[in-house]
C-alpha cells in the first residue's frame, strides 16, 4: 500500500527531505495543469510549480498533522500565484497555445470552428476575475468536490455553489460576446 501524502509530508517535516521527491512525482503534473489553466502560461506554470515545492520545503515546519496535504499544497500554490502576479503588470496572461491547432495539416471545417470556439472560450476564461477562474479550474479541470473546494478556499459549500454558478454565467456571457466577433478582433486587455 502506498504511503499517504500526509505521512510523506510529516517525514519531510521531520527532516527526511528526499521524500519530497515522491510528493513531487505525485503532484507536479496536477499542479502544473492547475497553474497553467489559471495563469494561461506554460512557462509561468512551470516556474510556479518549482516555487510551490520550494515553499513546501521552506515552510515544512508549519505543516499540521491534521491538514490534508493536497489542500495545504493548493493553498501554497494559490499564494505563490498571487505573489507572482503581485509585482507584475496587471495583464491577463494568454497563452498562444490557445490559438494553435493541435493537429497539423488541414482540418475539416467543423473542427476548425470547434478550435476557434475553444480559443475564444479560453480567452473568456482568462478574462474572468482570478478567483472565479480559479473556481472553475478547480471544479471543472481538477474535478474537485464542492466540499474540497470549500476546504481549500475557506468558505462553505453553499458559497462555493453560488460562486461557481455566477462564474460560469459570467464566463458564458463573455464567451457569447466574443463568439459574435472574428478571432482577429480579439485584443488582449
Amino acid at each position: 500500500m502506498a504511503v499517504s501524502d500526509e505521512a510523506l509530508m510529516r517525514a519531510v517535516r521531520g527532516g527526511e527531505l528526499p521524500r519530497l521527491g515522491v510528493l513531487f512525482e505525485r503532484y507536479h503534473l496536477i499542479l502544473f495543469e492547475f497553474l497553467s489553466r489559471v495563469t494561461g502560461s506554460r512557462h509561468v506554470a512551470e516556474d510556479l510549480v518549482q516555487e510551490v515545492f520550494l515553499r513546501i520545503l521552506k515552510y515544512r515546519a508549519t505543516y499540521r498533522d491534521d491538514a490534508r496535504f493536497e489542500a495545504w499544497m493548493y493553498g501554497i500554490a494559490r499564494n505563490a500565484r498571487a505573489d507572482y502576479f503581485a509585482n507584475r503588470e496587471k495583464v491577463v496572461p494568454l497563452s498562444q497555445e490557445a490559438f494553435q491547432s493541435p493537429h497539423r495539416g488541414p482540418a475539416p471545417e467543423a473542427q476548425i470552428e470547434q478550435q476557434r470556439q475553444s480559443a475564444l472560450l479560453q480567452i473568456a476564461l482568462m478574462q474572468l476575475r482570478e478567483d472565479d477562474r480559479e473556481l472553475i479550474v478547480l471544479a471543472r479541470y481538477r474535478e474537485m468536490k464542492h466540499e474540497d473546494i470549500a476546504e481549500l478556499l475557506g468558505i462553505n459549500q453553499g458559497t462555493v455553489k453560488v460562486r461557481l454558478h455566477r462564474a460560469l454565467k459570467e464566463l458564458r456571457d463573455t464567451f457569447m460576446q466574443r463568439l459574435e466577433r472574428p478571432l482577429c478582433d480579439v485584443k488582449r486587455p
Binding site: L17, F24, E46, F53, F175
Partner: protein, 269 residues
C-alpha cells in the same frame, strides 16, 4: 421548487452529486420554467465546452531536473546545519535559568547523559549521518546525470559542472562525461567535460577515451584542451594520436604545434 433553488441544484448536477429525487425535482421545474431552462442549458453547454480547451503539455523532465537540483541544494544545506537547539534552550530558560540549584542539577544530569550517549554511540557510530550523506550523494549524482541528458546546452553544461561537486562520482558519471566529450554538439559542453574528466584521469576507460577523442574532435579549442589533458595526465598512450594530429595538414597550425609539444613532453616522461 423555486427558481433560486435551481442554482445549487444545477451546480450539484453538473458535478454529478445530485440525488435522484432532487434531480427529478429539478427536471420538473425546468420543464415548467423557460427562463431557468434556457439558462441551465446554456451553462451546461459552456461547462461541456470547457473540456475542449486543450491541455498545455508540461516539460516534465525539465521540471523534474529543476526540482532535483533544488532538493539536492536543500538536502545539502540541511545536512550541514546542526540540529536546532532552540527548543532545549527555551525549555531551560523557562524552567531552569532562574533557579541556581536546578542549574547545577541540570548541568550534572546533562553531563551524565552526554557521557552515556557517547558510550552508546561510539561502537557503531551514528548510522543516520552516513545514510543521509549517501542519500545526498545519490541525489546529486542523479541530478548531474539528468542535467547532462537535457536538450538545452546550458542545462547540460550545468550537469557537467554539477558533476564536479560530487565527492565520489560513480562510473555512470564518468561514462556520461565521456559521452559528452565524444558526442555533445556544443563545444562548451565538450570543453567542460574535459575539465570534469581530470579527476577520473587514472581510469583506463577515460585515458582511452581521451586518445580516441584526439582522433575525432575537429574543434581547435577542444583539440588544444585534449592535448593539455593527455599531457597533464601523462597519458603516454596518446603519443600516436598526437603525432597524427601534428602531421595533419588540415588541422590548424596552433593545434599542430601544440600536439608536437605534447609528443615531446610525453616521450620525456
Amino acid at each position: 421548487m423555486r427558481c433560486e433553488e435551481t442554482i445549487t441544484r444545477f451546480v450539484d448536477d453538473l458535478k454529478g452529486s445530485l440525488g435522484v429525487p432532487e434531480r427529478r425535482e429539478l427536471a420538473v421545474h425546468l420543464a415548467s420554467c423557460p427562463a431557468c431552462r434556457a439558462q441551465t442549458e446554456g451553462l451546461s453547454q459552456t461547462w461541456e465546452q470547457l473540456a475542449g480547451i486543450p491541455e498545455v503539455q508540461a516539460d516534465s523532465a525539465a521540471m523534474r531536473v529543476h526540482f532535483q537540483v533544488m532538493l539536492a541544494d536543500n538536502v545539502r544545506q540541511s545536512a550541514r546545519i546542526p540540529p536546532s537547539r532552540g527548543c532545549i534552550r527555551s525549555w531551560l530558560e523557562r524552567h531552569v535559568s532562574s533557579q541556581p540549584l536546578l542549574q547545577v542539577c541540570a548541568a550534572v544530569l546533562l553531563l551524565l547523559a552526554g557521557i552515556e550517549l557517547g558510550r552508546e554511540m561510539r561502537p557503531s557510530g551514528s548510522s543516520d549521518v552516513p545514510a543521509l550523506s549517501q542519500e545526498v550523494h545519490n541525489l546529486q549524482q542523479t541530478v548531474a546525470l539528468s542535467l547532462m541528458q537535457q536538450d538545452s546546452a546550458s542545462e547540460r553544461l550545468r550537469g557537467v559542472n554539477w558533476s564536479n561537486q560530487l565527492d565520489h562520482p560513480g562510473n555512470e558519471v564518468a561514462a556520461a562525461l565521456i559521452g559528452a566529450l565524444m558526442h555533445d554538439a556544443n563545444v562548451n559542453v565538450r570543453l567542460a567535460s574535459i575539465d570534469a574528466l581530470t579527476r577520473f584521469a587514472e581510469r583506463g576507460v577515460v585515458r582511452s577515451a581521451a586518445i580516441q577523442a584526439l582522433d575525432v574532435q575537429s574543434s581547435p579549442l577542444v583539440q588544444m584542451a585534449l592535448i593539455d589533458f593527455v599531457v597533464e595526465t601523462q597519458n603516454r598512450g596518446a603519443i600516436g594520436a598526437l603525432r597524427r594530429l601534428a602531421q595533419d595538414n588540415t588541422v590548424e597550425m596552433s593545434v599542430r604545434t601544440r600536439a608536437a609539444w605534447g609528443v615531446e613532453h610525453l616521450e620525456a616522461v
